[in-house]
Symmetry: C2
Subunit: 405 residues, 2 copies
């Protein structure tokens, strides 16, 4: 008799975006004339830049003749992309990597979810609260999370590290050792960043305890402050304790194209085994490379023209985020993020609950946001807004919010 | 201290294609004038068909304007592709599926590798011998294979089912029950197919024992005999015991584009849980959908024009396979496959070893093949040849082989 993975039965439903959609639809039904603006959107909205489009067209055309047709590519990605990444994303920031430490994939979500394959079940996992749900759910599926406690909205075996305004959104180093630590900077959902000093403390701790840091840098292109590290490898000692995830989703508008990459340094060794070799084995066995056409599109953002074009798009999203942040601060609200992130994390007024503030903004300003409580208990008392919308709509939404606060 | 998945340490190296490349290079170095022809190639070589190319160009162009830009798509795939699959791949064969039983992915290799996520570690796995290595390696990584016995070239906890000319390449139903059974028809590497009656016996056995059949139908488009099932769901009772994997790789030349799909019927329930719901949860947590552009390309093969074009390409590969089969049979060799498959599985003459025959063909005919022993102990005494090469080169290679035998 085939036996199922019983850890799946423990997973609670993920109702956040479904519940937002339900409340939005109910309001729109009752108020058909209301012009709702979505400021909760986590997806990009701007078209692909011309350099990427041109590269993809060229890559499609290559497939029309046997001589230029591409069959199976390297599971780890094409050299043209891995080399460009090493040069542009790391060498420019003082980080030396070799191309075989970079693994191209169909996206950071897949890699964040699949990386657990190379680790034992009995590792103690630490995550920030609020948190991107994939870190937690993928570990729960693997049996590393224990049981889900509905009242606490938490798993019994996961170590949660609250990140709130009280600790400057920097997770505290645990008293009892943990084995696998997820850090995300610039952070989703809070929009805040970890400084070099904060990251150094984590790297030192991980090296002392032989823990592994899973560093999610999917939003690094949004960093505007020069002193903030884009890569954890800018911090001394990180190569012996950290795996880094990168994404073209928000960088180059690739949410629908699917491409990202993961860095596993050769120096990363546990129990005598190279994690680079293990991840290589995992990818060559259970993955067959990202699409050639999409890799060609991704490589185009490393050309001078492509780089300039994606910078403009990102500047637009950052400008939207600043409009939101400035507008909310002008109402006397406590607001975080936006400076190095498309995300704005706003404290609710007068201790209002996340969902209550969500409702107020929906009903009175016809603006959709995301309740912070949906990302974990420590997100209660916050809402998330994003700069991914249309500039004019964003300004209009902020005006409406100002009018009701 | 982070602990690794120690099952990875048990994996033997996969040296088959590396060893072929080493021997080929050594021969070419010693014989620089020899014009080597590769008949071992497992990758497609023909360009994408015009309908697919056009659809991909159109999909790229959609990404140049906000109104038609595609961000995150459904993790399970777009309706336009799932609906087309249900109609063209199943309804035409008398199989009724709903679109939400079809999960689009970046390829059958990923799905074959990842499907184990939804099953417990303590399942007994059965595979054919010879076998596509992903079935075995992915289960070994998950801890279902036991220890690797170097002398036996086998894992202690895997149940191997020899498929040779002695049993007509149909695996025998095990005496002791197994839980998860991998079947591949048309088979890689043997090129043989399972008949409706043979599949029915397996389906009945799986239903009686509550086992699950993992049915790999990546090569179904190559079936030319009308009576051979393209889908396991053509066999009564399969929906309560089988998961089916499909690929656009060989069907439409997508080895470098990356697209496939997996069918998990709603009727498939174990320990009270819907495997469809479990796979959906797995995919929504650890995958973010296949690329929109690639899905648009895949959908184009379901248009009348696209279908006709891919049929022509497949007919060409089948014609090559027939040239090989007929040519080898004319030398008095025992040959299988080719009729419903791009693969030709040839018994070595006079009990010669796989690698010895490989060497003879390389050194005397300058033709590269794949030694059957590389796919498992029961592949010893066979070689695999494929119809994926150039037609003229294929004919030339067969002539050369005939000249030396």
């Amino acid at each position: 008799m085939a036996k199922i993975n019983e850890n799946y039965e423990k997973l609670p439903g993920s109702y956040l975006f479904a519940e937002i959609a339900r409340r939005t639809a109910a309001f729109q039904d009752a108020n058909p004339d209301a012009k709702i603006i979505k400021l909760g959107i986590g997806d990009v909205t701007q078209p692909l830049v011309p350099a990427v489009v041109q590269a993809m067209h060229e890559a499609v055309d290559e497939q029309t003749a046997s001589a230029s047709f591409k069959g199976y590519g390297p599971e780890q990605g094409y050299a043209f992309l891995r080399d460009a990444i090493v040069e542009a994303d790391f060498k420019t920031r003082g980080v030396q990597l070799s191309a075989d430490e970079v693994f191209i994939s169909d996206g950071a979500k897949s890699d964040c979810g699949n990386i657990g394959d190379i680790f034992a079940v009995d590792n103690k996992v630490a995550v920030c609260d609020p948190v991107y749900p994939v870190y937690v759910d993928s570990n729960a599926m693997a049996g590393r999370a224990g049981e889900y406690d509905v009242d606490a909205e938490a798993w019994t075996d996961i170590h949660y590290m609250p990140t709130t305004s009280e600790n400057g959104f920097c997770p505290a180093i645990p008293d009892a050792p943990v084995d696998i630590i997820y850090l995300c900077s610039p952070n989703n959902p809070t929009g805040t960043v970890l400084t070099r000093e904060q990251l150094k403390a984590w790297v030192d701790h991980a090296n002392e305890t032989d823990a592994i840091i899973m560093f999610d840098a999917a939003y690094e292109r949004f960093i505007t402050e020069e002193a903030i590290p884009h890569s954890i490898y800018e911090v001394e000692g990180a190569k012996t304790c950290a795996i880094e995830f990168r994404s073209f989703s928000k960088t180059a508008g690739f949410t629908g194209m699917r491409c990202g990459y993961t860095v596993v340094p050769h120096e990363l060794v546990r129990q005598g085994q190279s994690l680079n070799a293990m991840w290589n084995r995992r990818q060559t066995t259970k993955f067959n490379g990202a699409s050639y056409i999409i890799q060609k599109g991704a490589a185009a953002i490393y050309t001078p023209e492509g780089a300039r074009q994606v910078e403009e798009v990102i500047a637009g999203y950052l400008a939207n985020a600043k409009v939101i942040r400035d507008g909310l601060e002008a109402c006397g609200l406590e607001v975080y993020g936006a400076q190095n992130s498309p995300y704005v994390w706003c404290k609710t007024p007068e201790g209002m609950g996340s969902w209550d503030f969500f409702n107020k903004l929906l009903e009175e300003a016809h603006v959709i946001t995301t309740p912070g409580a949906g990302f974990g208990p420590a997100g209660e008392g916050y809402i998330r807004l994003t700069g991914f919308g249309d500039p004019d709509q964003t300004k209009e939404a902020v005006k409406r919010i100002q009018a009701i606060l």
